[in-house]
């Protein structure tokens, strides 16, 4: 579960990124976070992954209290939160299989566990036949699938997708969103940050809109999300 209570975040240079955000995303929920550039979406992601601490208010993520978390506990928080990036962030000199296995190995997964889990997640994202390819040999959509597979490798309870379709054409974007929906159907909490109105409207999920550091709407149907603005 992700819970923000009256969270404010002011950067050192004085920029007020969040000005009192409160929201709650339940386990297993699928939620879009939308808003213009500079509205505070990235700050919310960084707070959830423990990269930042709130200036005031409280943030709880999967049982961790982010305003009190110790530095050495942050890696353990991150094991519960997978992140998918717009620019994929894959390791080019590793194969598809190795990219996923690497993410598991560095958190101490056993070899047997890796051998079982990697084919499973590659199958889940439809890359089981391309496990020996390198990221450079994949299309943009496939690279994003690989990014999703890597994020799922450690079986996180929450997946955050930060503009996952930003570098993809509309058809590939729809594929990725469908994949994320399928992953959510398996029980993973999903928070998707996006600009793409048509995708948000297509998937009738909860939509949180943030503007200038404040939540301006929180709707459950996903439709006509920008009509309120």
């Amino acid at each position: 579960m992700i819970e923000f209570k009256n969270v404010k975040k002011t950067y050192v240079e004085g920029n007020k990124a969040l000005r009192g955000v409160s929201m709650q995303i339940e386990d297993g929920e699928f939620c879009f976070l939308v808003g213009p550039s500079g509205s505070g979406k990235s700050t919310i992601i960084k707070l959830i992954t423990g990269e930042l601490r709130p200036t005031s208010g409280s943030v709880h993520v999967n049982g961790y209290s982010l305003e009190r978390i110790r530095r050495r506990e942050v890696p353990y928080l991150r094991r519960t939160v997978g992140v998918v990036f717009q620019d994929f962030r894959l390791i080019d000199n590793m194969t598809v299989y190795e990219n996923v296995a690497f993410a598991m190995r560095v958190v101490g997964a056993r070899a047997q566990e890796i051998r079982e889990r990697v084919p499973y997640v590659l199958d889940l994202v439809g890359l089981e036949t391309k496990s020996r390819r390198r990221p450079g040999e994949l299309s943009g959509g496939e690279q994003q699938r690989l990014g999703s597979a890597r994020a799922l490798g450690n079986n996180p309870s929450t997946l955050i997708a930060d503009e996952p379709t930003g570098n993809l054409d509309p058809a590939r974007s729809m594929e990725i969103m469908t994949l994320l929906q399928e992953i959510n159907n398996l029980g993973t909490t999903m928070l998707v940050v996006t600009h793409e109105h048509n995708l948000v409207e297509h998937f009738a999920n909860r939509v949180i809109t943030i503007e200038d550091g404040l939540i301006t709407s929180d709707r459950m149907d996903g439709l006509n999300v920008y009509e309120d603005q």
Partner: protein, 298 residues
């Protein structure tokens, strides 16, 4: 840290060495050169100390007993001298023994043929525990009742002490500078490897690898570089030193400077090189990775 990760982390550390093979080679070469100089300085200082101590032991303070005193009274003064703190050996010589030595020293020179034992004084030849305290001990000897005069080679004793001190200070300075040079070069090698793998490190952090897990391969890399450098330097030091010992032994003119055999220094040198390799390797890599981790997002 789980046991099943240790092999992986060690292999990653060794992979880092070959990732920048030339830089690793350069790091080992610089470490070898620095440790070789450090080792040579240490051995030089040790040998000079031995020679100085040997020469110092030949320094003697001569105590002349008042000629008015009888032999028995002079021997009492000898007993009192033996009780002084810094006195190592005090040898009593009668005026007759002194005459014999004097004549022998001058190869029976006829210029001294008229010299009688009565013209000389009974004397005590004193060797000290610590020649650095010669002046103070000489004052104590002079203050004894019945002592007519003393002669003490203060300047030579001071010269030896100064030589030892200068060498010790110089060696500490040289050793310090060279260790820092080795440390920096290893630190830079590890830093290069880290920048090369900064994307991997970012992903490791993102998926929840602990800082210890991220650091360890780089520490292993620094450790291996430092220890390989130390091992090679130790071997070279041994071979070169043995060669030098052999050559000096062949030269009669340098008999006074007989060097201590390397076998006698084996354990201390092994420990010194090992500790220096460990120090520059582990500390060099640790400082780089620490700076890198602090600079990147937590």
């Amino acid at each position: 840290m789980k046991i099943n990760n240790i092999g992986y982390l060690l292999l990653e550390g060794i992979r880092g060495i070959f990732l920048h093979g030339f830089m690793s080679f350069a790091a080992v070469v610089v470490t070898v050169a620095c440790l070789l100089i450090v080792g040579s300085f240490s051995i030089l200082v040790y040998n000079v100390n031995m020679v100085v101590d040997r020469l110092n032991k030949t320094n003697e303070v001569m105590v002349y007993i008042d000629e008015e005193l009888s032999l028995a009274e002079a021997q009492q003064i000898h007993t009192r001298i033996n009780l002084l703190d810094n006195v190592h050996i005090a040898e009593f010589k009668t005026r007759e023994q002194a005459l014999e030595e004097f004549v022998a020293d001058h190869n029976g020179d006829p210029a001294f043929s008229g010299l009688q034992a009565e013209d000389l004084r009974h004397r005590v030849v004193v060797k000290l525990e610590d020649n650095a305290l010669m002046e103070q001990t000489a004052k104590e000897l002079e203050a004894l009742e019945g002592v007519a005069k003393i002669t003490a080679p203060y300047e030579m004793a001071e010269g030896f002490s100064t030589l030892k001190n200068v060498l010790q200070i110089a060696s500490v300075a040289v050793i310090g500078v060279l260790l820092v040079v080795s440390l920096l070069i290893i630190s830079n090698t590890v830093k290069l490897a880290m920048y090369d793998r900064k994307d991997e490190i970012a992903i490791m952090k993102m998926v929840g690898a602990t800082n210890g897990f991220i650091r360890l391969p780089f520490v292993v890399q620094g450790f291996v570089l430092g220890m390989v450098g130390a091992g090679v330097a130790f071997g070279l030091e041994w071979v070169l030193y043995d060669f030098l010992v052999e050559k000096i032994a062949e030269l009669d003119t340098l008999k006074m400077f007989q060097l201590v055999p390397f076998q006698e220094l084996l354990i201390p040198m092994l420990l010194t090189f090992g500790a220096a390799g460990l120090f520059v390797g582990v500390l060099g890599s640790w400082t780089s990775i620490r700076k890198f981790m602090n600079a990147s997002a937590r």
